[in-house]
Structures are given as C-alpha cells and as structure tokens.
C-alpha cells in the first residue's frame, strides 16, 4: 500500500481572491510581515499495490480530475503506507 500526498496550487498567473482576503486578515491582526497568501488543496490518496507505474497513475489522476491545469499546478510525494 502506498500513501500519495498531492498538493494542488493555483498558478502564479491566477489571482487568488481568497488568499488576498486571508492575507489582509493576517496583516490586520498585526502580522505585518505577511507578504502574500496563496490557498491550495492537499489530498492524501491511498493506493493498493499495483503493477502499474504509480507515478504515471497519479499523474493521470491529477491531469484528469484532481487538478485543472488551466489554473492549477500539482506535485506529489509517494510514501509507503502502513
């Protein structure tokens, strides 16, 4: 069994109004050092042992469903799961 940790983030070129609102809040709370906030998604996917190439498999899942590559980038890490 593998645990795949997938991070989906908005591309640099895409405005993130949610992130901007959170940034304003942090600054207003006194964290003047905060320059920018970008909000993304974190997914954990458990995958049973398979003969298929796991990197290719996860890439396909990301491209087809988990990320919209028009506006999002993704990266992932594969770990052994207990």
């Amino acid at each position: 069994m593998k645990k795949v940790k997938i991070y989906v983030t908005l591309r640099e070129s895409v405005l993130d109004p949610q992130g901007s609102a959170v940034k304003e809040s942090l600054v207003n709370m006194g964290y003047k050092e905060v320059e920018d906030v970008r909000i993304g998604k974190y997914l954990e996917v458990l995958i049973s042992d398979t003969e298929r190439d796991i990197d290719a498999l996860v890439k396909e899942m990301c491209e087809k469903l988990l990320a919209n590559t028009v506006i999002e980038d993704y990266r992932f890490e594969v770990e052994e799961a207990n």
Binding site: S13, P17, L66, N68, V70, I71
Partner: protein, 225 residues
C-alpha cells in the same frame, strides 16, 4: 424537436429548464440521469445549473467525468446543440468541450440578481433570434462565474467570434473581457453563466431568454425540413 435536460446529484435548475422547453417553448423534453450512456434520440442537450456533486473539488469537476458526459461529447461531435448554463458551463469547461475555467467571483460573494447582457454574436444557432448588439436582461446566480483563460485562448476566442454574450455596463464577477458566454469553435456548444431559462416569461421579470431557445428550434427546423 426533442431536448434532453441532464440531471446530476445536486442539479437544481433542471426543473426550470424543463419548464422553459415544455411550457414556454412548446417542444418535447425529457430528464436524463447522469449515468445514461446514450443520447442519440435527442436533438439538443441542456446542462442545467446547480451544485453537481456539491461543487466538491472544483465546480463541475466530477460531473465532467460522468457517463453521460461521454455521450454529450459524442453529441457535440455530431454537431448537435449543447447548452450549459451556470454549473452547466462549469461542467463544459471541465470536460474540455469549452476552453477556460470559471473562478471564484472577484468579490468572493454569491451574486443573485438580474444583469444586462450584450449579444456580441447573433450569428450562432443559439442567438439568431437576437439583434447584433442587443441588450437583454437575464438573471445570474453564482459564486464561481469569473471566466478566466490564458491570453492565447482569449485572442483565439476574439478572432473566431466565440464570445457570444458579455456583461453590459457593470462586470459583476470579474470575468476576463466581461465574458458571460462563449461557444466552441464549431459554434454548437454554448456555455453561459446567466440563466436564460429563468427569463422566459414576463411574469418572471423578463422574457429575454426565450429567444435563445427559439433560436435553437429555428436552426433545427431549417436544417431538418
């Protein structure tokens, strides 16, 4: 002419769409559940608004992978009219039938009110009953209607006249180039955030949406009679 209204778990404008076709337009219409695999008996496909799959992950993302969307792709390839409204527009972009994506509204608020649209292209099978440049009143109701695409795609949309409706006067959601609705290159797939099916009778505040459905019927009659 026979219309299909697709229904996903979480669709909530399907009944309005059905009513518009059956009672206001006077054409045949049927609901089609999302696991259907064959749409061959229908002449046009309507994808209604709502919150398919609770808008989980991204609006329209999971609906775009459903069985029925494979049949919608086939219908689109055959040249049948496909109209996606609101969540239907989001599903069409996620399915790759239309370019771009709908982002959160710039002000992060759900906006529900009637807006003015400008008909930018009346030379489509969806808009032939409007005047070029006509201003129409159609309601919007969305939290994610902020159209976005890369510069290259935008240029192509402009060059090929694929921008069909724009917001007139004020841009409610931050959409790129005030875009409210676009067609694919072939012109038979239209996605739009505003709800024409909610504007089909003066009693509803506006009947300006009815001409869109009449356009579809006119085009179909002309090519099938």
């Amino acid at each position: 002419m026979k219309f299909a209204v697709l229904v996903f778990p979480g669709s909530n404008c399907d009944i309005d769409m059905y009513h518009a076709i059956k009672d206001e337009l006077g054409e045949e219409v049927e609901y089609v559940w999302h696991d259907a695999t064959d749409l061959s008996k229908f002449d046009a496909i309507l994808i209604p608004g709502g919150f398919s799959y609770g808008d989980y992950l991204r609006c329209g993302a999971m609906a775009s992978q459903s069985n029925v969307m494979k049949a919608v792709k086939k219908a689109a390839e055959e040249g049948k009219p496909v109209l996606g409204v609101c969540n239907g527009f989001q599903i069409l972009t996620e399915a790759g039938l239309l370019p771009g994506v709908l982002l959160r509204n710039q002000n992060l608020k759900f906006i529900c009110r009637t807006v003015q649209l400008k008909v930018e292209n009346n030379n489509t099978l969806f808009t032939n009953q409007y005047e070029q440049g006509q201003i129409i009143n159609i309601p919007i109701a969305h939290g994610e209607g902020n159209y976005f695409c890369d510069e290259e795609t935008l240029k192509k949309l402009q060059e090929k006249n694929q921008i069909v409706f724009t917001y007139s006067g004020e841009n409610p959601n931050g959409s790129l180039s005030d875009i409210a609705g676009i067609v694919n290159e072939r012109g038979n797939v239209l996605g739009m955030m505003p709800h024409p099916e909610r504007a089909v009778d003066a009693l509803l505040g506006s009947a300006d949406g009815l001409a869109l459905f009449k356009s579809i019927v006119k085009q179909w009659r002309e090519s099938h009679v």
